[in-house]
C-alpha cells in the first residue's frame, strides 16, 4: 500500500493565478501532498525525467497538466510521459485546461490521459471541481514506482 502522502503532485500550469487557485482549493480539500509547480514544459519534463526527486528516479507522482503552455503544447508533454519506457509511463495525468473542444478531449484520452477536466469560468464551480479533484486524489491509487526498480 502506498500512503497518499508520499505521492508528489506535479502541476504544469503557466498561469500563476490558476496555479495558485488550484493549489488553494486542493489544500482546502485537505490534500497535503507536496506540490511542485512548473510554468513551462521544458523544466517540467526535465524534472520528471532527470531530477533525483522526480518520478523517474524517486517515488510515485501525479501530474496536473494544462494544455496551453508557452514553450510546448500540453499534448506533447502528455505524449512524452505516456510513450516513455520507465515508471513515468504509469504516472496518472489529470488534464486541467480551458479547452472544451471535443476533438482536443478525445485526443488527450487517446494519448493516455487518465482524467480530463475543463476549467469552468464560473469560480464556484471551478473551486468545487478542484476540491472534488482533491477528494479524488485522496483515494486514488498511484503505482509504487519504487517496487518496479527494486
Amino acid at each position: 500500500m502506498n500512503a497518499p502522502q508520499s505521492v508528489n503532485i506535479i502541476m504544469i500550469e503557466d498561469d500563476e493565478g490558476h496555479a495558485r487557485l488550484i493549489e488553494k482549493n486542493i489544500r482546502r480539500a485537505g490534500i497535503m501532498n507536496a506540490i511542485r509547480h512548473f510554468t513551462d514544459g521544458t523544466s517540467a519534463l526535465d524534472y520528471i525525467f532527470n531530477d533525483t526527486s522526480g518520478p523517474q528516479l524517486n517515488g510515485p507522482a501525479l501530474v496536473l497538466l494544462d494544455l496551453n503552455l508557452p514553450d510546448m503544447s500540453g499534448t506533447d508533454i502528455l505524449a512524452r510521459i505516456k510513450n516513455s519506457d520507465g515508471p513515468v509511463k504509469r504516472t496518472p495525468v489529470v488534464v486541467l485546461t480551458t479547452t472544451d473542444d471535443s476533438r482536443e478531449i478525445q485526443r488527450c484520452y487517446d494519448l493516455g490521459a487518465n482524467v480530463y477536466i475543463t476549467k469552468p469560468v464560473n469560480y464556484e464551480s471551478f473551486a468545487q471541481a478542484i476540491r472534488q479533484l482533491g477528494l479524488f486524489l485522496s483515494v486514488i491509487q498511484v503505482p509504487d514506482l519504487g517496487d518496479e526498480r527494486g
Partner: protein, 502 residues
C-alpha cells in the same frame, strides 16, 4: 482573350474564300464536262460522216467497177456471141449498176455539188448504156460486124472518159470533204485539249490555294484552341486559388475566434477566482468589523465601516457582473465559431412544419406576450441544413416575440414564395420595429437597437446572418420604428452537399 474575335473574323473570311474557290473549281469542272460532251458529239458526227464518205467512195468505186465489168462482159459477148453466160453477166452488172447508182444518189442527196455530178454521170451513163445495148442487140441479131463498127466509134471512148472523169471528181470531192471535216475535228479536239489543260490548271491552282488556306486555318484553330485551353486552365487555377484563399481566410477567422475566446477565458478564470477569494476575505473582514463594533466600538472607524460594508461589496459586485458579461460574450464568440466549423447536412425540410414546431417550443412565451404565430399561405420546400434553418427561424421568431409593443397583441407571421431556384421566407411582426439607421447594425455581433430594456448580448441576429451566409443565402430587414419589422430570407432551394470544413 484578344485573339478570339480575330479568329471569328478569319472564319467568315475563310468561308467566303472557300466558297469562291469552290465556285471556280465547279466552273472548271463544268467547262471540262461541256467540252468533253461537245467533243464526243463532234466525234460521233464525224465518225458518221467519215462512214458516209466511205460509203459514197465505195458506191463510186462500185459504179466504176460495174461500168468496167459490164464493158468487159459486152466485149466478151461481142467476141464470143455463143457464150450466153457472158451476156447474162452483162445484164446482171447492168442491173447492179442501176441499184448502185440509186444507192449513190441516196447517199449524196444532201450535197448539191455531188448531186450535179451524179446528174451528169447519169446522163453520160444513159448514153453509154444505150450504145452498149445497141451493140448487144446487133450481136444477138448476128450482126457482129455492125456491132464492132459501133464499138469502134470515138463517141463511146469519149463517153467512157467523161464518165471516169466524173467518177474521179466525185471521189475527189468526197475526199476533200473528208479532209475538211478532219481538220474541223482536229480543231475542235485541240480546243477541247486546251479547255482541259486550262481547267486542269485552274483546278490545280484552286486546290493548292484551298489546301494552303485550310492548312493555315487549321494551324490557326490549333493555336487558338491551345490559347483557349491555357486560358481555361488559368481560369480554373485562378478560381481554385481564390477558393482556397477564401477557405483559408475563413478557417483562419474561425481559428482566430476560437483561440481568442479560449485565451480570453484564461485570465477571466483568475479574475473571477480571485474575486471570489476577495469576497471571502471581505466576508472575514466584515465579521471582524461586526465583532469590533460589538466589543470595542471606538476602534471601528467610519472609513473601515464604509470600506467593509459598502466599497468592497460594491467593487466585488461590479467586477463579478463585468466578468460574467465578458464570459457570456466570449461564449457567444465561441458558439459562432463552432457553428462556422459545423459540417452542414442538407435534407428536405417542410418549413411550415418547422415553424409550427418552433411555435410549440415558444408557446409559453407567446401566450405570456399575448402574441400569435401563424404561417401565411404555402411555404416552399427547401433542401438545406435542418439545424441551421431551425436556428435562423427560431432566432427571428424569438426576436419578434421579444420586441413586441407593450399593450398591442403580437401578430407574427411567416410567409414564403419560390423565386426560380431560391426560396424566399419572410418573418413579419407588428412589434416595435427597428430604426432604419440600425438596419445593418443589428446584424453585427454585440450590436442592438432601440431601448436596451430586454436581456440579451446582441448575438442572435449575428448568428442568424452567419448561418444564412453559410447556407448560401441573404437576409434583409424592412422596418419603420413602431410599425413592426419584416425579415426577408432568401435561400437556395437546394443546398449542395459540401465538403466538411477542416
Amino acid at each position: 482573350m484578344a485573339d478570339l474575335p480575330a479568329t471569328t473574323v478569319q472564319r467568315s473570311q475563310l468561308a467566303r474564300r472557300m466558297a469562291v474557290l469552290m465556285a471556280f473549281g465547279f466552273l472548271a469542272l463544268l467547262a471540262v464536262g461541256y467540252a468533253a460532251v461537245r467533243v464526243m458529239q463532234r466525234n460521233e458526227v464525224h465518225t458518221r460522216l467519215v462512214e458516209h464518205t466511205f460509203r459514197v467512195e465505195n458506191a463510186v468505186l462500185d459504179t466504176r467497177r460495174l461500168i468496167e465489168q459490164s464493158e468487159t462482159a459486152r466485149r466478151g459477148f461481142m467476141l464470143m456471141p455463143s457464150r450466153i453466160v457472158t451476156l447474162n453477166t452483162f445484164r446482171r452488172t447492168q442491173d447492179e449498176l442501176d441499184r448502185t447508182l440509186s444507192r449513190l444518189g441516196g447517199l449524196i442527196s444532201d450535197n448539191p455539188v455531188q448531186s450535179r455530178n451524179l446528174q451528169s454521170l447519169r446522163l453520160q451513163l444513159a448514153n453509154l448504156t444505150a450504145r452498149r445495148l445497141r451493140s448487144i442487140a446487133l450481136v444477138e441479131r448476128g450482126d457482129q460486124r455492125g456491132a464492132l463498127m459501133l464499138f469502134a466509134d470515138d463517141g463511146e471512148v469519149r463517153d467512157l472518159r467523161t464518165i471516169r472523169y466524173l467518177l474521179d471528181r466525185m471521189a475527189a470531192a468526197e475526199r476533200r470533204l473528208m479532209t475538211y471535216r478532219d481538220q474541223e475535228l482536229r480543231a475542235s479536239e485541240r480546243l477541247f485539249y486546251a479547255i482541259i489543260v486550262f481547267a486542269g490548271g485552274l483546278l490545280a491552282v484552286v486546290a493548292t490555294i484551298s489546301l494552303v488556306t485550310i492548312l493555315s486555318y487549321t494551324r490557326d484553330i490549333a493555336r487558338s484552341e491551345e490559347a483557349l485551353q491555357a486560358l481555361n486552365v488559368g481560369l480554373e487555377d485562378m478560381v481554385a486559388a481564390r477558393t482556397a484563399d477564401l477557405t483559408r481566410a475563413n478557417d483562419e477567422i474561425q481559428r482566430f475566434a476560437y483561440i481568442v475566446s479560449h485565451d480570453l477565458r484564461s485570465p477571466l478564470v483568475n479574475v473571477m477566482g480571485f474575486t471570489a477569494e476577495l469576497e471571502t476575505a471581505a466576508g472575514s473582514l466584515g465579521a471582524l468589523l461586526d465583532r469590533v463594533e460589538a466589543d470595542a466600538p471606538e476602534l471601528a472607524s467610519e472609513e473601515a465601516r464604509l470600506a467593509a460594508r459598502e466599497d468592497l461589496p460594491e467593487a466585488i459586485g461590479f467586477i463579478r457582473a463585468s466578468t460574467q458579461k465578458m464570459d457570456r460574450l466570449i461564449n457567444a464568440i465561441l458558439q459562432l465559431s463552432r457553428q462556422g466549423r459545423r459540417a452542414l447536412t442538407p435534407e428536405k425540410i417542410e418549413v411550415a412544419a418547422m415553424v409550427t414546431q418552433i411555435g410549440e417550443t415558444l408557446s409559453h412565451r407567446l401566450s405570456e406576450a399575448d402574441a400569435t404565430l401563424s404561417v401565411e399561405g404555402e411555404l416552399p420546400m427547401v433542401v438545406t441544413d435542418r439545424f441551421a434553418l431551425d436556428q435562423i427561424l427560431s432566432n427571428l421568431i424569438e426576436n419578434a416575440v421579444k420586441y413586441l409593443r407593450p399593450g398591442v397583441p403580437g401578430r407574427i407571421t411567416v410567409s414564403g414564395r419560390r423565386e426560380r431556384d431560391r426560396a424566399v421566407l419572410i418573418v413579419r411582426d407588428n412589434g416595435r420595429g427597428i430604426d432604419p439607421r440600425d438596419h445593418q447594425r443589428v446584424f453585427d455581433l454585440f450590436r442592438r437597437s432601440g431601448a436596451q430594456d430586454r436581456p440579451g448580448e446582441g448575438i442572435g441576429l449575428a448568428t442568424v446572418r452567419a448561418l444564412v451566409f453559410r447556407l448560401g443565402g441573404t437576409i434583409d430587414v424592412a422596418s419603420t420604428l413602431g410599425q413592426g419589422a419584416a425579415f426577408t430570407l432568401s435561400l437556395p432551394l437546394v443546398l449542395p452537399h459540401q465538403e466538411i470544413a477542416a
